[in-house]
């Protein structure tokens, strides 16, 4: 037995800031201190507070070390692990704040306190590469219960009653999907997992796969039993190497234990899972395109109906659920539909994981009960906006979603409320924007993404998104007219109504929602030819205040295009036709004489 466990985050975020080296160092130093029989080092998945990585948590005290560097390891071992004195200056600020008589533990911090972890339950708690640790936290118990005590109809009823809706974005009731697939008789059916996470800024599925891969395998086997399928596919993007590696390890261990394969728990139930790597095309996150890609063809969507529950993979009845959806299933089976349905709002039950990013202090992953307000997520859990800036909008749903302005900060977040205010849940990316963000530029960013990712099969999406992007470019370069705004809006509705798949049907949303809430910013670009946030370069002017300029010539010397002229000790002038708006003069001026408008 080990009296202390040192948990080191091995998620993508912390790995890129050097957590693997930390693990090696901890093992070396623990050995050197002769503590190897008393203290164990555990590599875990993501803890969520990626901003402060690499993160190290030490149990039994649950002390929270943040931004740990290689050189800190020796001190932590000799002070904390040997002599019981936590190294306070390396701990997360909030846990050792002035006025506290004891060190706050992990769960007591504002970041974690309001979170409810269901899908992320094991992330940061277990070593994802050891099946035994998953089993220690009730792993595969739900599968055992389903196979030995429940009929497939019972399973579907529990999922239906729980009110679980698809976490990939659209929010279709999961139980209903399973019910349809179960009702269609066939010699072979399939269970698929959508791990083709493509929204810019979203990384919840990656974190679940990296931190708790077995939960997905267990849930897929449960789904297989419920609909009568013996084969599963996980479609995961090749850009997630750690997730893929851990899934491969997990599948190998589950097969070895007989938890995947034939005659599971001696019940005659067979189920196995295969990984399919995606090449990173955004459209492959759309269900019909994903299945076409698994079949080995070019990843393009096809019209529905027929829906996958009737004709999916290889024209057989298929269900496709998102990683986070699956991560909820085993606990719903074990704790019951009522337990799950007791959380959340009337039509959105349970919790949702959000990837917080943008202008926010605590960048990372949070899981909150449905119905929590955006204000709680941003101001409390997220720690607010850095540098005292003012909140402007939050973008949810990625390229399919929209921007939520400050007036809606107190709306309880659920599927229906987000749709009502012109955004959508999406997979859970949440990008916070402050007064320095230009909303037209944000819309342009997402449109550039969809233009690039449109598969090209249908013309409304292929040509329409490109035209929208061109209109936005015209507006941000100061050449737009009010008529363009009307035309753009009209085109948005055409694309929404006529596109073949979800990608095109939702691609105009970033424009429509910013037009709805920030129309005055568009008008400023079009009529006043200014960008209020000072982002759109073509609309910016750098000018020198002749009263403040001392004629030191520093700006003229630093200007890469020689746009600044003037004599020594006399006020200088910027030639607007030459200026490339690089800002070098402004950061060089010692007299605060140059301004940007």
């Amino acid at each position: 037995m080990f009296r202390s466990h040192v948990m080191v985050c091995g998620g993508t975020g912390c790995s890129s800031s050097g957590s693997h080296k930390l693990i090696e160092n901890f093992e070396k130093e623990i050995q050197a201190a002769g503590l190897e029989t008393e203290v164990k080092v555990v590599q875990t998945g993501c803890f969520g507070l990626c901003e402060l990585g690499p993160i190290v948590i030490i149990y039994p005290e649950a002390t929270f070390y943040s931004r740990v560097q290689e050189g800190d390891v020796k001190r932590i071992v000799s002070e904390h692990l040997l002599k019981g004195r936590p190294v306070k200056e390396l701990l997360y600020d909030e846990t050792v704040a002035a006025g506290l008589d004891t060190i706050k533990s992990l769960d007591e911090t504002t970041f974690y306190k309001k979170q409810v972890r269901i899908a992320l339950k094991n992330c940061g708690v277990i070593n994802p590469e050891l099946i035994d640790e998953y089993i220690a936290y009730d792993g595969y118990e739900a599968l055992g219960k389903v196979l030995t005590e429940m009929t497939p109809e019972d399973v579907i009823k529990v999922i239906l009653d729980s009110g679980l809706r698809g976490r990939g974005g659209a929010g279709f009731p999961t139980g209903l999907k399973w019910k349809f697939a179960a009702a269609n008789a066939a010699d072979q059916k399939y269970v698929c997992c959508n791990a083709d996470e493509g929204d810019p800024g979203a990384f919840m599925d990656r974190s679940v796969l990296e931190g708790d891969p077995h939960v997905v395998l267990e849930a897929m086997a449960i789904a297989g039993y419920a609909i009568g399928a013996s084969k599963g596919y996980i479609y995961v993007r090749a850009e997630y190497p750690i997730a893929v590696k851990r899934l491969e390890i997990a599948i190998g261990q589950a097969r070895e234990y007989g938890l995947l394969g034939e005659n599971i728990f001696e019940t005659g139930f067979n189920f196995d899972v295969e990984i399919k790597l995606g090449a990173g095309a955004f459209v492959c996150g759309e269900e019909t395109a994903l299945m076409t890609s698994i079949e080995g063809k070019r990843g393009e969507p096809r019209p529905r109906p027929p829906f996958p529950a009737l004709k999916g993979l290889w024209a057989k009845p298929t269900i496709l659920n998102n990683v986070e959806t699956y991560a909820n299933i085993p606990q719903i089976i074990l704790k019951g539909a009522e337990w799950f349905a007791s959380m959340g709002t009337e039509k959105s039950k349970g919790t949702k994981v959000f990837a917080l990013g943008g202008k926010i202090k605590n960048t990372g992953l949070v899981e909150i009960p449905m119905g929590t307000t955006l204000r709680t997520i941003i101001e409390e859990i997220g720690g607010g906006i850095p540098n005292g800036k003012k909140f402007k909008a939050a973008q949810t749903g990625g390229p399919s979603g929209g921007c939520i302005p400050a007036e809606h900060l107190d709306v309880p977040i659920d599927y229906d409320n987000l749709t009502a205010i012109g955004s959508m849940m999406g997979s859970g990316g949440l990008i916070v924007m402050d007064e320095d963000n230009c909303m037209v530029d944000i819309a342009k960013f997402f449109l550039e993404f969809t233009v690039e990712e449109s598969c090209g099969k249908c013309s409304p999406c292929r040509i329409g998104t490109k035209r929208l992007y061109e209109m936005l470019e015209k507006i941000t370069s100061g050449k737009g007219t009010l008529e363009d705004l009307d035309k753009m809006e009209e085109l948005c509705y055409h694309i929404k109504a006529n596109s073949l798949c979800g990608l095109g049907q939702t691609a105009p949303n970033p424009i429509l929602s910013t037009l709805r809430y920030f129309r005055e910013e568009y008008i400023a670009h079009v009529v006043d030819k200014t960008c209020p946030a000072g982002v759109c370069k073509d609309l910016m002017r750098y000018t020198i205040d002749p009263d403040k300029c001392r004629g030191c010539t520093a700006c003229a010397r630093v200007c890469p295009v020689k746009a600044i002229t003037g004599k020594v000790k006399e006020a200088h002038i910027i030639d607007q036709s030459k200026c490339i708006k690089c800002g070098a003069c402004m950061s060089t001026c010692k007299f605060d004489a140059i301004s940007k408008k």
Binding site: M1, G84, E133, I135, A136, G144, L259, E266
Partner: protein, 126 residues
């Protein structure tokens, strides 16, 4: 693995090994071992290890065994303090792994303080 019983066997074995990873709550009994230089020199490490092992092996989920620095009465090291919610702190002194076994069995499991090992007993004897 073929049966549910085997799964349960793995779970039971593993649960005790990961139990240190749960956080304390208001009902947790905290057992704190002084592990400063004085404590370690007097033999605190085997005491800490013994208590930690026993609590994990016997699955006493309401007990947390942690360490601390110097408690301030170095002549009585190794020292073990037991904090039970709503009760007075109990300080055991001059502990050994064997004494720790008894503290575990009587105090932590059955709730009966081992009076003869406490600092109170030592000072009244003098």
């Amino acid at each position: 693995m073929k049966s549910l019983a085997e799964l349960k066997a793995i779970r039971d074995k593993m649960q005790s090994q990961v139990s240190v990873r749960t956080e304390a709550d208001e009902n947790t009994i905290r057992v704190v071992v002084g592990m400063a230089t004085c404590g370690i020199a007097a033999g605190a490490r085997p005491v800490l290890q013994e208590l930690s092992d026993l609590v994990q092996e016997e699955k006493l989920q309401n007990v947390k065994v942690t360490q601390t620095g110097c408690i301030g009465i170095c002549q009585y090291e190794p020292i073990v303090e037991v904090f039970e919610p709503g009760k007075e702190k109990v300080t055991y002194i001059k502990m050994t792994a064997e004494k720790a076994d008894r503290v575990f069995a009587q105090h932590l499991r059955e709730g009966k303080v081992v009076t003869e090992y406490t600092i109170g007993a030592a000072t009244t004897m003098k």
